[in-house]
Subunit: 406 residues, 4 copies
């Protein structure tokens, strides 16, 4: 790696990535380009510009971008088409943001003539894998620097001492140990570590930042309607909305009603179990609504194939293989199924619950004529069922006869 | 079928199966044996004995049995080990009861020298398939009679007229049309038809019978602890319980807190979509608890394989293939994974929510030493991650180089 | 079905479908439209025109078509992209032809204002299912007539008597019982029934019609090269060829070298096992060549996903679900993987064997630099393997520690 | 690793592992225990004892064992029950031997109080992964030494110079470069590297050592019969045989008839493609015979589930996860399916071909009564097929109606 000259850093503006920026420059002698993205994490990104400038980075090498629409349109919504949940529950809020960041890091590297990218993920987690697999897939010759796997600043104290020795301002609240670690974007906030490390202890209420406690949510339920076209949400209560606008509005609703909290012990790709606390208020509502509209518009064959493929698809995203042939193959299959996934879903939001209570569609496959308990005017001949059962049973009967012989 | 002499009927004691009993006798000339099971449906079964006697069936041909423990132990719990949910949500409450009934029908046929069994399921639903596939698998030569597919009593009026003409007492509340159809057992109550047939209309509150409306549930959350051994629940709040006792106790808790309501449009095996309303109060709590204990005791490889096999497994049960080689193969795989699924899960019940908030186990795979943000004393070498990522990326980089060439 | 006026019949020109044509007309009173396709079965199709005319069918209702190119391009090759083999071996030669025939039957019905289609498949086999599912998928209101399930002509003698009574000429060789039944098209010839019904008895040599006995094949091996683009064969020994031309040429080679014979007991969709003898000379060569070119051009992730999806894909085609959302979803995934499946495969043909002995491609993913036993000039750092193994082993080690505790 | 005192080495007696033994002792200062296994590789193992003694290893630390029966009974046969083929073709001959060797290495480490094991696999291949994952799964605290990833002897010349400097005798034929690298055991011989590195070049004939060239095989076919019980081979031509005896006899037959040669470009777990040449004479015959007996004794549901699980199962073995919960889960499912896989398969061996030509079984599920073209005496009612098709088509028709609307 001795030939690296310039490196693009995923820069939040916070203490850790500021130390990384400085370290790359002073210890490694690289020129640093910073990339700061507004993914909907709920923090201002402009302060990152000021901090970058303060470190002497020229303006042309400071990239500050609002990528919220791209994030929801090209990453979150395609994933939601698959009804993806990792290990049965996790809506992949962190996993799905990493490929987008890597994509921009690599693109900026090409624009600025940088040979490497750098990120602030540690060597124990999944994010390093997601950042790096994405980067290598998009540019097989890119170099990746992961300071947390390389430097000696392995304790908080050492990091802060190094920061102070290098004129990086350390906010007061960063001096002590944070009681847990977080990641946030428009889809979710995750928290892990420290006070959450004992999976028997309930998550303290102060860990939650994106949702009210269901006990403090309104006593009156609220009904909403989400419109879908081609498998994607397009409106809320009849008002057309862009992807990010819709998810933002659903986040507000979810926050208010205490929806989308999840306490999970999950299996990391690097091999150990970890306990995470997730808040996905709008995502949880959206995921349920998507299943609701699929219920009446998706054929059984398509629906069951999707359900069988989903765990693999979710695992690929979790493990960092967004930019892989197999994820793209699954996406092609899933997307084809969504051509007629359109219509409106009605949900009831109430103290942590987001319940589908109605769905309608111009492309509905639900046939009241067939299912009715009333006279169906010949839509369905009950006698057909006898033959259907007989032939489905044939192999089982031959088996029963054989096993009785033996 | 002209050689049938005696038939064992799945007899609830209600109007419909009473008419069937009489019809089998008078129209077909068969001797009728009745089988009435207490599956936890919440109705007395002894009245069925009186009604059967009233139809002239001899006592030795009246079978009345409490099968609740067998139901939960041998059907519900094995299914729960798989975390089975059909089409993402449905806990298969009706599906899982049918094989048990068929098993007893066939056994009683053998005991009483009957050549056939009969059931009261219609020709449009899944239950006919489940009853019959199970019966044929257990006795390939058994005959099956499904009067709803065969007789002319296709309207409610005709049925009631026939009943009255044959001295079958018709309860007053059965004279009018029921506004919906239900099935119940210890695991759930399902409702479908009539007022539920428009999937855009919210289910009226009077349809629910097993749970309070979450809005009417207590304002205070309740914490409970469920103990597991070998993947099955064995205790509640430290008190050892049999399978049916545990599920009954969880049903009471779920009822009280409004847990387990589900409004679903699902795909029937016979080909159409139908809308069902399910209440699975104890089952929903149990299912979440089971996933909770698996989170810390199940290896990732086992957990992900289970997740991938689950949709197929659930489909098999839904479609009536409980007694099939492929369900048994999947069960063997699943059961093997459950040997160390033991420990205690803590849940918070509150207004429709059943949230896992803690889990502990003597067989935990969660290693605080590995996952900690603190110094891990060498448990995990972060540098290993670099090689791990490099080799996982290798094929993607070769692909990137190839695609750049081309 | 009383409202049927005109029916399109899949007409081979042979005795059975001639009887069906007459029966539809005389017994049912329908107007008959005939459709005869050249699928490469190796028989002239023009005689069918003469026979149809002889039965009084007007020329505008006699459809005779050469569909060989469409068959190979739109059905065989897409299926081959998936490496589809049913139950490990069967190349689906009959299954893949049925959807094409049904498609044309339905299209002709629309052109001629017919309300129904008819086919000559029996009620025991898979072909009835394939014809009818395809037809219903393409036109949900089409009527289907399957005379073999409906009429009384259940013995050969009765059929011949009926033919003679209705002025249908009966060829001498059809008077006796044929010793087996066959189906043929450009992809394969299948034989089943009669002399083949005992699965312990070796298939007599006279059953084979498309290949020489390997023992009679040339003593000298022959080398060939097949060129591929986007996953489809495009040339033989450097000469560009259309799909049907290529398959025809491979059939000649396969015939000569005794390649593609298969004796199989398979599971029919309708529930019983049957024994079939298949000859797929060109298809077997092509299938091996396709795997050969994939070996160097397909990424591992794509290849393994394809392998896992293949059995399901093959089952769908075998069962008649070509025109289904789930087959189309799988096809979308498979086709995406084939974009760079291009290059040349060299095979050695010798007495029943078709062995891939070489493959090259401008889009090769094979990297001699990485795999070499020689000095690789830093392409691959063997030390990366240590971290790769360590993290893959982590969960197994945690498991081992847990199990040792317990 | 500084605390290692004693290490168990997988020792072949050849030059490379002799150098490793010496290197472990002189460069690392470890006591070396050698383990040499007869896996059926076709070389004497006693010379390894003499060489080990010559290096000064005490007799109690020299383990020489014939593990052929264990290898076939506990590893090869269970794998064959699954019909496992990696990437469609490879019978996993090398992959399946590694877990057995690791198991014995770990057991011997425990017996001798060793803290580590060592192997001679390079850092580019799959075998290092297989050895090490198995070892870590069986003893999470074992240390593993892989000299090829650690030392400086990276060229053949350096290795030989080191050997001579340390009094290790270098056979004349090892002085030059070997033209390819091999691995052998009772199941197969694999060759790779050097002359095989260009996947376009045909494998030279001198690479093959276990089979005659099909062109040189007998001109007369040979018929054999293999007997099966519970999914495992138990006899050849009516003579009962132990697992290893049977495989040895099949190897002789396969060698004679030129069966089981495979030229493959495969995807390694470590990320690159490699080209291998495999000879699996007896294994190829056995694998085909096993499928043959399954054809008549395995239910369709079981057979199709097995086919769908197989690629995953094969991948697990290839990647080194034999001792993993998920492989054991799949094995439990597979083994359950094999309870009645019994009977006799007849094969014809001829110049590279091993064709199943007959199969019979007391547990056959093949019903001539059902499948016959003749009168079936009511075994099967063809009219059942109409209802079967109608209900299978229902969803497709509803879909067609919907799509026509839209």
């Amino acid at each position: 790696m001795s030939d690296i000259k310039r490196v693009v850093l995923a820069y939040s503006g916070g203490l850790d990535t500021s130390v990384i920026a400085k370290w790359l420059e002073t210890e490694r002698g690289y020129e640093v380009v910073t990339f700061t993205a507004d993914l909907g994490q709920g923090e201002e990104i402009e302060p990152a510009r000021i901090k970058a400038r303060a470190m002497g980075i020229p303006d042309k090498h400071i990239y500050i971008e609002d990528v919220r629409e791209e994030f929801v349109r090209d990453f979150v919504f395609p994933m939601m088409r698959a009804n993806a949940r990792y290990e049965g529950d996790y809506l992949l809020g962190t996993s799905i943001a990493r490929p987008l960041i890597s994509k921009r890091l690599v693109e900026i590297a090409h624009e600025t003539g940088a040979d490497a990218i750098a990120h602030g993920a540690t060597g124990k987690g999944n994010d390093q894998v997601r950042f790096e697999l994405s980067a290598y897939a998009l540019d097989p010759d890119i170099k990746v620097i992961a300071p947390w796997r390389e430097w000696e600043l392995t304790s908080r104290t050492a990091l802060i001492a190094w920061a102070e020795a290098h004129q990086i301002s350390v906010p007061k609240d960063k001096r002590g140990e944070s009681p847990f670690s977080t990641d946030a974007n428009l889809l979710h906030t995750s928290s892990e570590g420290k006070v959450l490390e004992d999976p028997w202890q309930e998550t303290p209420d102060y860990v939650y930042s994106r949702t009210v406690n269901p006990e403090d949510a309104p006593d009156q339920p609220e009904y909403i309607e989400i419109g879908f076209e081609k498998g994607d949400g397009v409106s809320l209560n009849g008002e057309a909305m862009s992807p990010a606008t819709l998810l933002t509005a659903l986040n507000d609703l979810g926050r208010k009603h205490g929806i989308g909290r999840l306490d999970l012990v999950e299996n990391r790709f690097v091999g150990m179990k970890s306990r995470g606390m997730y808040e996905t208020p709008g995502g949880e509502i959206y995921a349920r609504a998507h299943r609701g509209i699929e219920q009446i518009t998706l054929d059984r064959g398509a629906a069951h194939l999707k359900d069988e493929l989903m765990p693999r698809y979710a695992e690929l995203i979790y493990n960092g293989f967004w930019f892989s042939p197999e994820r793209e193959m699954l996406q092609a299959a899933i997307d084809l199924s969504q051509q007629k996934v359109e219509g409106t879903v009605r949900l009831k939001l109430y103290k942590g619950n987001a319940m589908v209570v109605g769905r309608k569609s111009p492309a509905s496959l639900y046939s009241e004529a067939h299912v009715t308990f009333e006279d169906d005017a010949g839509a369905y001949d009950q006698k057909d069922a006898a033959g259907f059962i007989k032939l489905n049973a044939l192999r089982l009967r031959l088996l029963g006869q054989r096993d009785r012989r033996g």
